[in-house]
C-alpha cells in the first residue's frame, strides 16, 4: 500500500487516549507474568512504564508491539483491538508503531543511511531520490546528517539511539516505543537521549511509550507514569501526583533509585 493511501486512511483523532490496555494477561508455562494490566497511553505525550527487574515491563512491551500474542485482554489502538489482529491487518497496524530497542538493534550489515531507508524501501513506492531526500531530512532533523555513510559500529551509544529513532519514525509512525533507552549509557548520554525523546515527540508529533527503570531520567521526561510491580499496575498518573501520594513499593523504589531530594521537591512544586 502506498504511503499516500495510508495517510489518507489516517484520520485525525481527538481521543486523548491513544492506546487502551485492558486486563492484559501473559503467562509462560506456570509463570503468570502479566496479571491483568490496565494502562492508558496518552496521545502525543511521553508515557513511561517503570518497575523493578522482573516486574513484567519487557513482557508488556513485547505484547504491545505484538512480538507475542497476549493470553487474554485488549490492546485498543484508536479503538481497534491490536491483540486480536492477524496477517496483513497486523502488519499494517505495526507500521504505525516504531520501536527503539535497548541496544538500538541497528542492522550492522547496513550503513546508517540504509538502516533508516530500510522501512521506506520495504513499505513505500517512493523513488530512490524521494527516499534519499526523506532519509537525509530525517537524519538532519535529528542532528546526525553527517553520519549517513557510517556503519552502526562506528557510532557512539547516543548516536545509535538517534539513528534508531530516525529509522523508527521515518514511516511517519504515530506511536514510538522505547525499551530501556538509557540502559548502559553514561549520564551525559542519558541526558542526550532524554532530550532526544522530547525532541522526537515535539518534531514528529508521536506518542511515546518508554519502558525504563532509570528514575532520574523518568522524572525528566514523563508526562504520565505507570509503576509496574510483579505483573500488576500499582500506581499510575503524572509524576507529580505519584510523588505526592507515593507509598508502599513505589516509595521504596523511588528511594532505592536515589532520586535526588531536590528533584523530587521540584516535581512536587511543579
Amino acid at each position: 500500500m502506498s504511503r499516500k493511501k495510508q495517510s489518507e486512511e489516517r484520520e485525525p483523532n481527538d481521543d486523548p487516549v491513544h492506546i487502551r490496555i485492558r486486563n492484559l494477561h501473559k503467562s509462560y508455562g506456570n509463570h503468570h507474568v502479566l496479571k491483568g494490566i490496565d494502562i492508558d497511553v496518552l496521545r502525543g505525550k511521553t508515557n513511561v512504564v517503570i518497575g523493578p527487574s522482573g516486574s513484567g515491563k519487557s513482557v508488556l512491551m513485547r505484547q504491545i508491539i505484538r512480538l507475542e500474542k497476549p493470553d487474554e485482554g485488549e490492546i485498543l489502538v484508536d479503538g481497534r483491538d491490536y491483540a486480536q489482529l492477524r496477517g496483513m491487518e497486523l502488519e499494517r497496524t505495526r507500521r504505525s508503531m516504531g520501536m527503539v530497542f535497548q541496544a538500538s538493534a541497528l542492522f550492522d550489515s547496513m550503513t546508517v543511511f540504509d538502516n533508516v531507508a530500510f522501512p521506506l524501501r520495504e513499505h513505500s513506492t517512493l523513488s530512490k531520490k524521494e527516499i534519499r531526500d526523506r532519509v537525509m531530512d530525517r537524519l538532519q532533523s535529528l542532528g546526525i546528517g553527517h553520519a549517513a555513510t557510517k556503519w552502526p559500529a562506528e557510532l557512539s551509544g547516543g548516536m545509535q539511539r538517534r539513528v534508531a529513532v530516525a529509522r523508527a519514525t521515518v514511516l511517519e509512525t504515530e506511536i514510538l516505543i522505547y525499551d530501556e533507552p538509557t540502559t548502559g549509557l553514561d549520564p551525559m548520554t542519558v541526558k542526550t537521549v532524554d532530550e532526544l525523546i522530547a525532541e522526537t515527540e515535539e518534531k514528529f508529533g508521536v506518542t511515546s511509550l518508554v519502558i525504563s527503570h532509570d528514575m532520574a531520567s523518568v522524572f525528566r521526561i514523563a508526562d504520565r507514569l505507570t509503576f509496574l510491580h510483579f505483573g500488576t499496575v500499582i500506581a499510575s498518573g503524572s509524576p507529580a501526583e505519584l510523588l505526592e501520594n507515593a507509598t508502599g513499593p513505589f516509595m521504596e523504589y523511588v528511594e532505592a533509585a536515589g532520586v535526588r531530594e531536590d528533584l523530587i521537591a521540584s516535581r512536587r512544586g511543579s
Partner: protein
C-alpha cells in the same frame, strides 16, 4: 505467523527472584527427553520448512537478497570446493590405480572415479564444504541478529524475518550447491586424471573412455538432485540454529557448533535415503 518467529522468552528472568526453587528432572524424564529431542528438532525444522515455503511464494520477492545469498553461498565457496575437489579426485586416482593393479583392473579407474564423483562424492563433499563455510557463517550472522534484537526490529517494521532472512538463503542453497557439485566433479576428475595418467601411468584414452562409457546422464542427475536437497537442508539447519539462538555470544557459538554437526549428520543420513529412493532398493 508472527508468533512463530518470536524469540523464546526466559520466564525465569522475567520473574526475577520470585521463582520457586527449581526441581531438576528425574532420571526417567531426562532419558525420555534425550530420546525425544531428535524428533522435537525434526518438528521444529518441519515447521520452519513449511514457513519458508509459505513465505517463498508470497510477495514481495526480494531478488537482490537472493542474488546476495547465492553469491555468498556459491561464489564464496568456489575456491574451497575446487580445492577439496582436486585433492579428493587426486587421492581417489592414486588409491584406485594402486588397488586395482592388484587384480589388473587399473583401466577401470576413470570409470569408478567418474561414477563415484557424479553419484556420491561430488554432492556429499560439496555440501559438507558449503555447510562448514557458508552454513556456519549463516548461523553466526542470524544468531547475532537474534541476540541483538535485529530480528525483533525486522518484525516491528512489519517485515517477516523468515521471508527476509531464511527464504533467500534456502533458495540460494537449492540452486548453488548443485552448481558447486558440478564444479567439484569437473575439478575432481581433472585431479584424478592428472594423478592416474601422469603419476600412475594409466593411458589417458583409456581413463577418459572408460569414464564416458560408464557415466550416464541419470548418474549426474542423481547427484544434482542430492545436491539440491543437501543445499536446502544445510541452509535450513543453519538458519534454524541461528534464528532460535539465545544466550548471547556463547549461545551463538553453541548454535554454530550445532548447525555444523547437525548438517553433517543430515547430509549423510539423507544421502542414504535419497540414494535408496532413486535406486528403488535398500529401503
Amino acid at each position: 505467523m508472527a508468533d512463530a518467529t518470536a524469540a523464546p522468552v526466559d520466564p525465569d528472568r522475567e520473574q526475577g527472584g520470585k521463582k520457586e526453587e527449581p526441581k531438576g528432572p528425574g532420571f526417567l524424564e531426562r532419558g525420555l527427553e534425550t530420546l525425544l529431542s531428535p524428533f522435537a528438532e525434526l518438528g521444529v525444522l518441519a515447521r520452519m520448512l513449511f514457513d519458508t515455503l509459505f513465505w517463498a511464494v508470497r510477495p514481495p520477492y526480494r531478488f537482490r537478497l537472493l542474488i546476495e545469498a547465492a553469491e555468498f553461498i556459491g561464489v564464496g565457496s568456489i575456491f574451497i570446493v575446487g580445492l577439496t575437489g582436486f585433492f579428493t579426485g587426486a587421492v581417489l586416482g592414486l588409491q584406485l590405480v594402486d588397488g586395482f593393479r592388484q587384480f589388473g583392473a587399473q583401466s577401470q579407474t576413470g570409470a569408478v572415479v567418474a561414477m563415484a564423483m557424479a553419484r556420491e562424492i561430488g554432492p556429499v563433499f560439496s555440501a559438507l564444504m558449503v555447510s562448514s563455510r557458508a552454513g556456519s557463517a549463516m548461523t553466526t550472522e542470524i544468531g547475532s541478529m537474534r541476540v541483538s534484537d535485529q530480528i525483533n526490529a525486522l518484525m516491528t517494521m512489519a517485515v517477516n524475518p523468515i521471508q527476509y532472512l531464511i527464504v533467500p538463503r534456502v533458495l540460494a542453497g537449492i540452486v548453488m550447491v548443485p552448481i558447486l557439485t558440478m564444479l567439484f566433479n569437473i575439478i575432481g576428475m581433472f585431479g584424478a586424471y592428472l594423478l592416474s595418467v601422469y603419476v600412475m601411468g594409466i593411458d589417458p584414452g583409456v581413463f577418459v573412455g572408460r569414464a564416458q562409457w560408464i557415466v550416464d546422464v541419470p548418474d549426474v542427475v542423481q547427484g544434482l538432485i542430492k545436491a539440491s536437497i543437501f543445499g536446502a537442508t544445510i541452509c535450513l539447519i543453519a538458519c534454524r540454529q541461528g534464528f532460535y539462538a539465545s544466550g548471547g555470544a556463547a549461545g551463538v557459538g553453541r548454535a554454530t557448533n550445532r548447525a555444523v554437526v547437525h548438517s553433517a549428520v543430515a547430509i549423510l543420513a539423507l544421502d542414504y535415503v535419497v540414494t535408496a529412493v532413486v535406486l528403488g532398493q535398500g529401503l
